[in-house]
Structures are given as C-alpha cells and as structure tokens.
Amino acid sequence: MSIKRIAVGAFALATVAASATLTGAAEYKVEDEAIKASLTGKAGDPDNGKKVFLNRKKGNCLACHVVSSLKDQPFHGQVGPPLDGTASRWSEGELRLRIVNAKALNEDTIMPAFYRKDGFHRVLKNFKGKSVLNAQEVEDVLAYVMTMKE
C-alpha cells in the first residue's frame, strides 16, 4: 500500500492556511485509494450538493452519468457508468478521491479532476489557477453522491 501526499501546487501549500481553501487549493492525503478526511473538516450539505451536481457550469455530472432518481432532468450522458448505487460500491473516502481527481485511479480517464487548480495545458483565462469546484462544493457533491445507495 502506498501513501502519497498530493500537494496541489507550491503556491497552494503556502496559502492554504490563510485562504480557507475557497479556491480549491487544500492539501489532502491519499491513502488506500481514498481521501479519508473531509477537505474542509466539515460535513457536506447534500441539498447544495445536488445543485452543484446538476449545475452545467459546476459539476455537470449528468453530462456523463445516468442517475435514475433524477429522471425529471433531461439529457443524462452515457460516457461514465450510471451512478445508481455507487455509494454501496465505494466508501466515502474512495468517492471523495474520484471527485477530487479521478486520474489518481485511472490515468486515462475522461472524467475531469474537480479539485485541481493547476498543471493544465492552455486553460482559458477565466478559469486559470482555479479548480472546477471549491473544497466545500466537493464535500457537498460527495454528501449528495453518498445518498446514491442500492
């Protein structure tokens, strides 16, 4: 078993304490293919998580995933597996790592890393130095995904 420390850029390390991780810059620890601790130290809010999950400018998770309980929403994509029952297949920490950076598990995946803010190629100006979701949004989406039990 390997324990890796992933720092999201040196700049992040220097500012993490002061910035309260709002730009998606917190340090986290990957252990057993999971991130066991909350990125914010707080529990996520599943109601806000659902909003972030659906928002096309934020999670936009339905672009690639079918979720049966969201049948009222149009256009579920088929690029990834259906998320029905995913919280019965994976632990909270495993799901957190999937949302933070799915590439830690599958280098070639199409699923974006939602909590990484640099190391990208030619990012559009408006998105430079930012992660797709901030730390609390990751925790909120995670809390919502944790409701997807078999």
Partner: protein
Amino acid sequence: MKRKALVLAGVGAVALAVPSVMTFAAEDWGQYQVGDKRSGYTFAKAETRAIQDDDFENPGMLWVEHGEELWETVDGEAQKSCKSCHADASDTMKNVGSTYPVFAKDIGKLENVENRINRCRTDNMKAKPWKYDSRNMLGMVSYVKRQSFGQPMNVKVDGDAAPWFEKGKEFYNQRRGQLDMACKHCHVDNAGNMIRANTLSQGQGNGFPTYRLKWQKPGSLHRRFRGCNKQVRATPYKTGSDEYLALELYVMYRGQGLPVETPAVRN
C-alpha cells in the same frame, strides 16, 4: 450546377422501421462507413440526414451557389476572377477537396483550401483576403470542395507533410483546458456515446464547411476546433493557424477513405 447525392440504399428507411432491439446486425452505412471509420452522418438524427440528402433542402447548398457566383466575379486590381485562371472548376478543382491540406513547396508550409484561396486573392488577383468564416470564404470553400463530392479522402502525410502530421497527432492526443481532455477522449474513446444531449461522433472532417442547424449557417472546420477547445475550457488557436492546420491534416487522415460530403448538415 449539377445536383447530386450520395446514394445510400434505403438505409434511412430501414433504420426508422426496425425497432432498436432488432438492430443487432451492424447497420449498413454505405459509403459513409469505411472499415471502422464513420462519417458524422452516421451519428446524426434521421431528420438531419434527410436534410443533408436533399440538395434542394440542404441549406448549405445556398453557400455552394454563392461560391459558384463568386467564381466568375472579377475582383481586385488585377481585374481577374477565379475563372480567368482556373476555367471550369468541375475540372480544375475536382481533386482539391479530397487531398487538402497539402504541403505547398513554394511557401514551405502546409496549406488548406481557405489559405490557398486567400493566397490566390492577394497574390494573383491583387484583391483583399477574405475573413476565415465570412460568407464569401465559406461560399468559395464550399464550392471548391463540392467539386470533390463523393470522392474518398486521400491526404498525403509523408514527405514534407510528415512533421505537420506528427504535430497534428500530438495535438489530438494532448489533454487541454481546465476540464483536461484531449480530442481522443471524446471522439475515439467515446464515439457513439451520449454526452448530455449529443451523440459523440468520431469528429470527422469530411463534410466541412458544415451547415449547423444550431448556428443557422455553415462553419469552417477550424471554427469547430475552436468550439471543441473552448468547451473543455482551453484557449483556442486562431482559425487558419499553423496549429490548426496540423490538426486538420491529422483529422482528415483519420477519415481517409470517407467520401467528401460538403456541405454536410449537423445539429
């Protein structure tokens, strides 16, 4: 101008009539499929394909017709039209659409149809270059490529073109933007899958300029590249740039053997 359509033995009707559970046999897409290569046509909705198939309904044909008019229009200080030098396009331009982009020895770089046309305008006609996605440029490119209608794509990727091809291939497989995806993640790994409301195709270039129902006008291949870059939150390159020329060569090579479909219709 001659009206012609690629003949596709009743596929539309078959696809409509057979319930999806029964389509276990691979669909016969005629010329629109060559081995594993499939034109965007084969991923489009039946209604969209029907618009493309009917030359009188296909709105892209209006641009082809505009190009045909421009072909004979004198412009620039040299007082020439395209026709003055190139005579009958159905003869002199018939291999352009299927073989471009090409390495042009006289300028020492890769050149696509748009850039070649502007070179003729500035150097041979002493006329102003056209803007890349202007009505005139789209019209002329559509007209020129239409002369290769139905011919299999056959671009040259060796010799002087080889370094451009390699660059294009690298571009295609490089992750970019905040969403960190390469072309191949959508158009190779996920061709045929729905992403939101769209069925991902193989991202082939054989139908360009393509009339987009969403835009209500045709767009160049490079405009499409810009859109596909921006949707993953990556900074696009300029239309006509060296980067996109290299990418164009690679994309056309991926579709080697597919027929020139200009003007294709897509949503």
